[in-house]
């Protein structure tokens, strides 16, 4: 595996191996050691052409804990805002010797393009491209679910997950549907019909328009952010109505099974898709998702960067 562009790049065993590696790294991070020498001398560029808090900081922390050198640049304050093309930016990074580029871009397929056109020799990690995919988020979500509900098993066989809200604009939902179903979870999407993408019938999921009937039957409720910045049309009458039908409030949360957990990839619209008291409740693992994100991204960097190319002869 050279790049991580989509969950489709992963086999089930590769995905499980990333989760296992993250588990061991989490144990190390909980101990005294916060710095490992593994990627010393490697350069990782965080290329964020779209705003991000969690993902960028998380990748930066992960790279630094593995002793890699990190160069951050975002569209604001770089030549990207002067209209420099992705190709010219990539060639600049190549000239500077970047071993990996973590890219966040508002265009779906930006990471794929960067990887396919061989503008640079390093590996490409998709940190969210438009409404397409966000594989590292799905891996950290799977890691969090496995940790809470996995009961020691490697995969997510039989765990029931509801993904609720703005599926249409959500790369998190796309990556999670692929990964969670690959790991054996039963996924149900809950959204108003206007916020489900065309072709959703062919996804490995079931679909419901009635949040209340789904809640008692799932172990995980994953709320999605309503992405108003991507909405050019009117997808629901008003936010109060959306909140009433598809928002998670404490009355709804009370109908969950006792072991159930509430997730959200962040940033949250408190009061719209999730009520503030739910986000701060004991069932919410939202802050823990962020913490797990660092471990999972360390595992991704380790798998992509620590080993040499496969064709180099093996010696012990």
């Amino acid at each position: 595996m050279r790049h991580l562009l989509s969950i489709k790049d992963l086999t089930t065993s590769e995905a499980i191996s990333i989760l296992d590696t993250a588990t061991e790294l989490a144990r190390i991070n909980e101990g005294q050691v916060k710095k490992l020498p593994t990627l010393r001398g490697r350069t990782i560029v965080n290329l964020f052409a779209e705003d991000s808090t969690r993902t960028r900081i998380s990748f930066e922390a992960a790279a630094k804990r593995l002793s890699a050198d990190v160069i951050n640049f975002s569209s604001k304050g770089s030549s990207l805002s002067k209209g420099e093309s992705l190709k010219d930016t990539a060639q600049t990074l190549q000239a500077m010797g970047a071993d990996a580029v973590v890219i966040r871009h508002s265009a779906s397929g930006a990471a794929q393009r960067l990887a396919d056109l061989e503008w640079m020799s390093g590996c490409v990690i998709n940190a969210g491209d438009g409404t397409h995919e966000h594989p590292s988020q799905a891996l950290l979500d799977a890691f969090t679910i496995r940790k809470h509900l996995g009961k020691g098993s490697k995969d997510l066989q039989g765990i029931r997950v509801a993904i609720v809200g703005d599926v249409l604009h959500s790369r998190v939902a796309r990556s999670n549907v692929l990964l969670l179903s690959m790991l054996g979870a039963d996924v149900v999407l809950v959204a108003p019909p206007t916020l489900l993408p065309v072709g959703v019938e062919s996804w490995p999921v079931s679909i419901s328009y009635d949040f209340d009937s789904v809640i008692p039957n799932v172990d995980v409720i994953m709320m999605l952010r309503v992405q108003q910045e991507r909405m050019s049309d009117l997808f629901f009458p008003n936010s109060r109505e959306y909140s009433r039908y598809f928002g998670l409030n404490s009355d709804r949360m009370a109908k969950m099974s006792p072991h159930g957990i509430v997730m959200h990839p962040g940033p949250m619209n408190r009061g719209l898709e999730i009520a503030a008291d739910v986000a701060d409740s004991a069932r919410s693992v939202i802050v823990e998702q962020v913490k797990n994100g660092v471990n999972v991204r360390m595992a991704i960097l380790y798998v992509l960067l620590a080993g040499g190319p496969l064709e180099v002869g093996v010696q012990s």
Partner: protein, 177 residues
Amino acid sequence: MSEALSAADISRALTRISHEILEKNHGSSTITLLGIPTRGAHLAMRIAKIMGEIEGLQIPVGMLDITLYRDDLRLRPPRTIMPTTIPPVGIEGRELILIDDVLYSGRTIRAALDALGEVGRPKTVQLAVLVDRGHRELPIRADYVGKNLPTSREQSVSVHLSEIDGVDEVLIEGVEK
């Protein structure tokens, strides 16, 4: 392929190493054992058991994964990270015995010393190995050796342990040149 050590040989070697460790350190009161996964960790458990039977008490034993500290990571595909468990007494001020199955280039042990430095500062670090096959690339030696096996670089030494492989044996594969 030829058998260099049988199950009985391995058992005798581990018993001897256990006695040697106790003799050199004047008893077991300050000893902590750390095995290097995967087979070194099983050997550490066995040695801890033998020492415990001799001394009549529990010997602190754990395992130390050194993958993230290797200097040859870039020479091969990524390896799985194995668990690290440090016994509750820790390693600070202890007589620390590192245990591995085969001592070859010495690079694993160099990495282990780096990894230990992040965990604490033992009083001494000693090394016990089941097989020393020579060809050191670093100034590292073992304090306790089950068996010295002179080999050529073209040969490979496989240690099989019943916990993982179902059988105790040490095999040499390839011809001596």
